[in-house]
Symmetry: C2
Subunit: 169 residues, 2 copies
């Protein structure tokens, strides 16, 4: 079981997949964790991290994948995002799980074939790849995309040769 | 007992003071938590947050004060700092403690009288205010400064009237 996370200070998406057969990963669950906008950032960070901890306790994934932070145009948003990501790193490590980070471009390219795919394109591709009848929320789709990206790379890692060596950026 | 924290992705400072008499706060302890530079950021975040958790368990402070993040020139550093801060927010909240955030300018102004004081000036002022014989490390001084800032403001808060109302920015 793999858990993908898409951290956000208001909404954090999560996606759980089974990738025992990495060529045909299986959808397990996805969803979004929302923190009330009335709360301070400090309290939102805690609330969302507690939600992720519950997801980990429920699904007991073997590993966790998360997007790396990149330098965004909006620095204030990036700082909030950094704080959420840091709290999630802590709860993942506290559960004795390894976290794997992928750049947003790697996730997009792995899932859609294009490093600059839109969120809507990722959503549609995730829906198709996972054989879902309903369209998952955007943040949940992003989380599933990170999990799928990790499943693909983890497969290469297991069977890896020198030139398929993973680069966790 | 108040705990001040100065989060950093390589070195995080902590300072513990007793402020039962807020006019004359008493020095208890200070120090720095270092994470090996060989570790990934993800692992450094975890290591430092675990160190802060140990400090909390040892000194059992009533509340915690931390500097707010501000938009730095170096955005990459700010993103790393954000992740450390997020993990610390989590361990503080997990210990059922309230965290109080102060802007760097408020901390400097409260401790030295000048909002643009240098780190060395803060260090000297903290040494004097706490009556220390030895000069604490810069990051430990910053952490003591945040704790002192909180002691000052918490005092105003307790005795507060409408126009001394605290603004936690």
């Amino acid at each position: 079981m793999l858990l993908g996370l898409d951290p956000g200070s208001r909404v954090t998406g999560y996606g759980v997949i089974e990738a025992a057969n990495p060529i045909k990963p299986r959808y397990i669950e996805c969803g979004v964790l929302k923190a009330s906008e009335k709360l301070s950032l400090e309290n939102r960070v805690y609330e969302i991290a507690c939600g992720v901890r519950e997801v980990i306790e429920e699904f007991r994934p073997q590993s966790v994948a998360m997007e790396d932070l990149f330098v965004q145009r909006n620095v204030r948003s990036a700082l909030k995002l950094g704080q959420i990501r840091g709290a999630l790193l802590f709860v993942v490590a506290e559960a004795a799980l390894q976290v794997y980070s992928y750049s947003p471009a790697t996730v997009k390219k792995t899932v859609t074939g294009r490093g600059r795919a839109s969120k809507a394109q990722i959503q549609q591709m995730v829906k198709t790849l996972m054989g879902l009848k309903q369209t998952p929320a955007l943040d949940a789709s992003d989380a599933l995309a990170v999990a799928l990206c990790h499943a693909r790379h983890a497969k290469r890692f297991v069977k890896g040769s020198a030139n398929s060596k993973l680069e966790f950026k």
